[in-house]
């Protein structure tokens, strides 16, 4: 076996201590982190080669071909309940009727937060709908299509694309700001006339203002501007009051829709508010369906573009992995088909389908899956409570309780950790639909509220600390490898 490497390195002390090759490699790494899509093909080929032993082990030892199965049924109940919850209590403009649209994906804006939702309907289908989009009592954003357009009156490709909802804190992308605004373009930034009822001892009344997207340095995505009574605003002492849309000449936005909760930022000990902000009533990372308002005269042209689910049979095998993951699964398409990135891996042997994890960066018909219980990402959940209501939650797996149950920290809404019921997936990408069963959830422990340093600005009367849900996942998912006999990957047919 021959010696590898440099035979003359000892004679070049500078290159020995500061090797140019190493720094060039790190530059390549930085390039790869910044532009992952550019090096993805190379990485895909390299991964195919490096995982050849894993594939061989999978065939030799514990890999098993999956069997064909029927369409998943797990998502239906959850989605139906979600639609009912989305519609409940909603009100829209006069002459329009509500229509539930499922969300298929979300887009992160320039400020690093989700500010755009992609719906399961094309723009042509929603042409003629009112611009506003609601969820329950709340106003969440506006459609990115003209309010009074007709099908086919824009470029054909534009109309065929999936419709998008620009949330209230939507910020224009750089691409759109380079050219001047055209008459038919959707309005770039939402400005909503809103109001809040002041209930302070020394300040009572209704404060009117405009709600606009906040700046990058602000702690909340929406801020209040153009207060009609600045004195009243300066006397506010308590955060958390509900901000609602106010009566204006614009009849397309009815009064009374909830925008979010008022957050007062400043120096509470000195009774000096510095800024008024609004925390949206729903975390956009958790919104899985919305209500659009279509003209009651049936002007829009509905067509079925609901995502059709298909099951791809896969081979499945598991391998030990370093901490904190501890275990990773290799799934291989035994039909040679391409696996969609972000598809949900289901266990069909349990109750007609149980969610196990998401495929990450598939290559050459293979993919690795981090088990849901070891995942580190933020998830959109649905929780079907015992009374049948479906709640949208946002949370993250933070570990295991001593009794083995999974600890899921609920990030939104604040009181979401107090719920009890069946935990389901929300929409977590175009190939992970809402309503896949995860486990049974019960309230866990409340978190510890953040303690601010005296003298620093902070929110007046901060909301309660967030807590955790304890989720019971069937034991067999964790310990019995036989459940891996029948695995399916849920994809979306295009």
């Amino acid at each position: 076996m021959s010696r590898a490497g440099d035979r003359h390195s000892s004679g070049e002390p500078r290159n020995r201590l500061f090797p140019v090759g190493l720094y060039a490699t790190l530059l390549v790494g930085m390039f790869g982190v910044t532009f992952p899509e550019l090096i993805a093909p190379v990485e895909s080929v390299a991964r195919t080669a490096v995982t050849l032993p894993l594939r061989a082990y999978s065939i030799l030892f514990d890999g098993r071909p999956a069997l064909a199965a029927s369409e998943p049924k797990a998502s239906l109940q959850g989605v139906v309940g979600l639609s009912q919850s989305t519609l409940r209590g909603g009100s829209g403009p006069v002459g329009y009727s509500p229509r539930v649209c499922l969300v298929v994906d979300r887009r992160v804006g320039p400020l690093g937060v989700v500010d755009e939702l992609i719906l399961a309907r094309s723009r042509d289908e929603l042409m003629g709908c009112a611009p506003l989009v609601t969820v329950g009592h709340g106003l969440v954003g506006f459609l990115d299509i003209p309010a009074h357009g007709r099908p086919g009156d824009r470029r054909a490709q534009f109309g065929k694309e999936l419709a998008r909802v620009r949330l209230l804190h939507y910020r224009g992308r750089r691409r759109t700001t380079k050219r001047p605004l055209r008459a038919r373009d959707p309005f770039p930034v939402a400005r909503v006339a809103a109001q809040v009822t002041c209930r302070e001892v020394d300040a009572q009344g209704v404060l009117h203002f405009l709600v606009v997207p906040a700046r990058a340095v602000d702690s909340w995505p929406l801020r209040c501007t153009l207060l009609d009574n600045p004195y009243l605003g300066s006397r506010l002492r308590h955060s958390g009051d509900m901000v609602t849309t106010s009566e204006t000449d614009d009849r397309s936005i009815p009064a009374g829709l909830q925008v979010g909760r008022l957050m007062i930022w400043g120096y509470p000990q000195l009774n000096i508010p510095v800024g008024l902000f609004v925390e949206p009533i729903r975390d956009p990372r958790g919104i899985s369906s919305v209500v659009v308002w279509e003209a009651a005269d049936g002007g829009s042209v509905p067509a079925s573009t609901d995502a059709k689910e298909r099951l791809i049979p896969v081979w499945f095998s598991r391998f030990p992995a370093p901490r904190p993951v501890r275990e990773r699964w290799l799934v291989t398409s035994n039909a040679g088909s391409t696996l969609p990135n972000g598809a949900a891996l289901l266990d069909r042997a349990l109750d007609g389908g149980r969610f196990l994890g998401l495929l990450a960066r598939p290559w050459s018909g293979q993919s690795l899956v981090t088990p849901f219980s070891a995942s580190t990402r933020i998830w959109a959940f649905l929780l079907r409570s015992l009374d049948g209501h479906v709640h949208e939650l946002v949370g993250r797996v933070v570990g295991h309780a001593p009794d083995g149950r999974l600890r899921v920290k609920i990030l939104a809404p604040d009181n979401g950790w107090r719920l009890r019921g069946e935990l389901l997936t929300g929409v977590n990408g175009p190939h992970c639909p809402a309503g896949l069963a995860i486990g049974r959830a019960e309230p866990g422990e409340a978190g510890v509220a953040d303690v601010a340093t005296p003298g620093t600005p902070r929110v007046f009367s901060p909301p309660a600390a967030r807590g955790e849900l304890l989720v019971t996942i069937p034991d067999s998912v964790v310990s019995d490898p036989r459940i891996f006999v029948s695995q399916r990957v849920l994809g979306t047919a295009r």
Binding site: L26, P320, R328
Partner: protein, 160 residues
């Protein structure tokens, strides 16, 4: 060439072994630290890019995150420690222990930082003081074992 082929396929098995250890006990430190320690203290400088690339690629198979991300997680601490070869003696017993402690402290934090910046990989799970102490004791021994056998023995810098 044979050495490179060996390393290309053996690196993945080192991480599999690491995962197997992790399933047995919580007290065995991450084997990635051994690879980083070998690269920083003992590897031939011109072999570093290949060693790190193969290690990062294999690590990305079993730990969430792209190969580029793992290249930075493993490579940046190596780049920091490498110039100190001119200061410390290779025969020192204390130096590998200190370097192991540094790596055990830095690697999880660097991983967490990159997770915050790129949303790839996983959040930081910093080691406790006890875990760093265990790493300082165990990682030099692991590294000694690794550099005693091929393929890493073939990439070892010659000298005292």
């Amino acid at each position: 060439m044979i050495a490179w082929l060996l390393w290309f396929f053996v690196a993945l098995h080192l991480f599999l072994l690491d995962g197997w250890f992790a399933g047995l006990t919580d007290h065995v430190p991450d084997l990635s630290l051994s690879i980083a320690l070998f690269c920083a203290l003992y590897a031939k400088p011109k072999a570093l890019p290949g060693l790190l690339l193969c290690a990062a690629l294999s690590r990305s198979v079993l730990v969430p995150g792209s190969a580029a991300l793992h290249l930075l997680v493993l490579g940046v601490p190596v780049a920091v420690l490498l110039p100190l070869r001119g200061v410390f003696s290779r025969g020192s017993v204390l130096w590998p222990c200190l370097a192991s402690g540094f790596l055990a402290f830095v690697l999880p934090r660097l991983s967490g930082l990159l997770f915050r910046l790129t949303a790839e990989g996983g959040p930081a799970l910093p080691m406790t003081g006890f875990e760093i102490f265990v790493a300082m004791c165990v990682i030099p021994v692991f590294t000694l074992a690794l550099r005693s056998v091929p393929p890493l023995s073939l990439f070892q810098e010659e000298g005292p």
